[in-house]
Amino acid sequence: MVYLFLDILGTTGKKFINFVANIGHFFIFFGSAFYWTFKPPWYFKKIFQQILDIGYFSLPVVGLTTFFSGMVLALQTYNGFTDFNSESTVARIVLTSITRELGPVLTGLMVAGRVGAKMAAEIATMRVTEQIDALGTLGTRPMQYLIAPKIIASLVCIPLLVLIGNTIGILGGYVIAIYKLNFNPSLYLNATMEYLQLIDIIQGTVKAAVFGLIISMVSCYFGYNASKGAEGVGFATTSSVVISSVMILTSTYIITALFFG
């Protein structure tokens, strides 16, 4: 009985120490990646390729997600608020929900799934096939050549994607309000413009930048530290999406609390 207890205690302790070590390892990676991101030389061709991949090719998925979310939001708000004769608040609720929360979070989650998984898989494959080792022997720092372009592109593209996603989401709400719920277009637009707050846009952009950092750092970290061949690549990919998504949902609360708490 005592041995079993000691065994469980030992296993738990080992797992806890590993967990703490991994967190420490991540922050060391974070610091190093951040340092090399802002240190020349910058590989502009690689940065441009990443901007195209993260920004341009994510537009359809982000656009579709936010458009339908705006539509659903308008419909649900209308149905819920009809009971209180408050249908006029639909424009405000769609606007506030999209700009403050849904736009950034949905964009973050979509990009984490699409781009984060790709980043992790690409870097992990390079790690297990010794390409990262080879880079280091060819006078190129892997952090600068591989990681920094992804961080820079994420920091640039995700805030822009969020701004575009917000606009498309609001448009989705507008389409439902006007064509299904028979709102007056000019009244709906006026209400939207009236409640549009700069602080909401700023908060949404800050969230987007933080999500960009989370997605790129987490994905690159798992990719960079991958091992064990194909299994390791799979583990890196899955872990990057799961951890990025959890961190996005956690950090959105913290940022909201800092701005509006």
Binding site: T125, M126, E130, A134, G136, T137, G139
Partner: protein, 257 residues
């Protein structure tokens, strides 16, 4: 400057040990690579040959011991200084390690293109001048590594290593997976690089025919240490049982011809 028979020591490994957790891979490894010398490292799979090479090029950190390249101690050397030393080395990895996202010609001139601006035309021209020595056709230059055979990938990796004429060449199984004719071509190239350019090379190989063709000196890694060293001829005349296991199926007279 430390010299042996008037030859400069290019790489000096002293008392190097490396383990992974409780698994000791290398213990007290000592050897020297002289200027103009071609050294072959042989040993069974998993004996630590590639680990030794990775220690030399700074990918792995030895637990103890020292590694000097051109009289500079590289263990614990700051990264920027280590990178400068590595630039003088031409390295091929066991599985090629070509960059998937770059075309073959971009892979070949990668190191040079990082140092000096080069347009595509000149880059391809330089890459072609190297691959023709390796029996490759110019058509492969515009393809990606995944679009050519494993043997061709190996040769592109060798082309990348020798691009810029580095004085120190390190090859990890350069002829594995190649047909005997191409293998012989690679051996000839290593020999040329060492004898003509005055470079030095370390080659990890299981191919005894290749050892005979390229090596001036052979070391056998077994049971975590260097258990035998000598010239290829001494190897074939050796009564050492471990060496005998390696050379048993080979007709040495035929090879040395």
């Amino acid at each position: 400057m430390e010299k042996r028979k008037n030859k400069k020591i290019i790489i000096k490994v002293s008392n190097l040990s490396k383990s992974f957790n409780s698994n000791i891979v290398l213990k007290n490894i000592n050897f020297q690579l002289l200027e103009g010398e071609s050294l072959a490292i042989i040993g069974a799979s998993g004996s630590g040959k590639s680990v030794l090479l990775k220690n030399i090029i700074g990918i792995l950190q030895p637990d103890k011991g020292s590694i000097e390249i051109n009289d500079t101690e590289i263990v614990n050397l700051p990264r920027n200084l280590k990178e400068k030393i590595l630039l003088d080395l031409g390295i091929t990895f066991q599985h090629g390690a070509l960059f998937d996202s770059l075309k073959n010609w971009e892979n070949i001139i990668f190191k040079i293109a990082n140092k000096e601006k080069m347009n595509n035309k000149n880059g391809k021209k330089l890459a072609f001048s190297i691959i023709k020595q390796l029996g490759l056709q110019p058509e492969i230059l515009d393809l990606y590594p995944s679009e050519i055979s494993g043997g061709m990938q190996k040769r592109v990796a060798i082309a990348r290593a020798i691009c810029g004429n580095p004085k120190i060449l390190l090859f990890d199984e350069p002829t594995s997976g190649l047909d005997p004719v191409t293998g012989s071509l690679i051996d000839q190239l290593i020999k040329t690089a060492v004898r003509t350019v005055g470079g030095s090379a370390i080659t990890i190989t299981h191919d005894m025919a290749s050892v005979c063709r390229i090596a001036d000196k052979v070391i056998l890694i077994d049971n975590q240490t260097i258990s035998w060293s000598g010239t290829p001829k001494e190897m074939f005349n050796s009564a050492n049982k471990k060496i005998q296991k390696f050379i048993k199926p080979i007709n040495s007279e035929f090879l040395f011809k």
